[in-house]
Amino acid sequence: MEKRPGTGTVIYKEGTYFLEAEGKTHAIPVGAHLKTAQLKELVGQKVEVVFSEPTSFVIGLVPVAKVGGRIPRIICYFPADPWAFGVVEEAARVGLAQQFLNQGVLSKENYEKLGTE
């Protein structure tokens, strides 16, 4: 999966769960961080592919349809680098920054440094 697809579908075949995206299937490892029961609920449903690289990928664990098209932010990493960075929505970050500015925790100067994208 060299280019990140927006969504994929969770499928179940012969005892193994797979992510199907862009015509390819990738086995989803089940372990301490991801239980079979969680995947079972997702079978046949579209999930967000949060990011992907040649050897690992990250998917949302809430069906896209269930949240009305809004990209779910519940993610699970496997076996992605634990240092991988999250995907905080800029609007959420800006909202928090504004809140801390209003409360006087962040100075105006620092608030402006943070900027908006």
């Binding site: 961080h33 519940i74 993610i75 928090l96």
Partner: protein, 354 residues
Amino acid sequence: MKSLGQNEPRALPRAFVIELTMRCNNHCLYCYNEGGAAELTRTSEMSTAEVTSIISKLHEETSVETIALSGGEPFLREDLPEILSFIRKMGITPVIISNGTLLSGDKVAATVPDVTYEVTLLSYKPQVHDHLAGRRGAWKAAVDGMCNVRHAKGNLVAVFVATKLNCVDLKTTAELAIAMGAGALMYNRMNLSRHNIQFAEKLLPTPEMIRENLEVLDALAVRYGITVSVSVVIEPCVVDVRRYIHLHFGWCPLAGEGSYFTIDPLGNLRICNHSPVLLGNLLRESFREIYYNHPYIRQFRETLPVECEPCDPELKALCCGGCKAAAEQCYGTPVRIDPFVTLSGIGPAVPGSR
């Protein structure tokens, strides 16, 4: 002692920590740093050439992918940008572990890009952060620094060290870090050492506090999509961490492939940044020679604290005896259990002892 059945030969580590200096401008109450109590002078540190020679050695002898520059406070080294450039030139990913107080716009500009800044943020309340950091003004300087990193589009990881005094501030502190552009959060419960154990009663968070914190972090990971790493081991006999499915828990890599061997300011090698045991000196010795042949590494890998023997096999396989370096620090041996477990009221669980 019980063998954990490790297979030889082991794969080589991919991450290392280099402590560039033991000098620090903070005086954190919880600091576990082995050299933190010592007054070391500039002459007690490797030169730039010596540091780069060790980086070259790691590059030649191991599968190194990441090098974290730590201290003390690494920004007290004037040659930090030069060392970073060398690391990048070797194709290695650099990380800087810093208290954030020296992250001026100029210093960030001299070190960005392609570096991850791990900066400690202890509270959203200046007085709490300053009290724990042991210095007035530390909070303001760290917050200014984190904003400078964001302004320069640098990668920021906010590190929260959990103590009794700041656990209650976690949620708002994490949100402040997110507001300042942190792309990941690291949660470390205070780790005990011979230097900070005197403050254990005052600072060590209780299992209930940690449980509440993990619930907060799990919810934040869902709400904001932020990566949360729980790095210092929380032994599952103290808190069952398996229920927090959105958090990444760190376990002792047992001096194996996933470990982060640490080199001190004089070139001495240790198993990790918490271990006090010197294995050799990389200015004179080969890493591979030490890694494959040092008897302490074998002992460290194969030792399971005696208190852990009656534990549930699933938990034992997950935890591998907790932080044995903390036991080594506090008791002088990795055969004992992490004092965090004992002080949490869980141990000792030696058969027949209770």
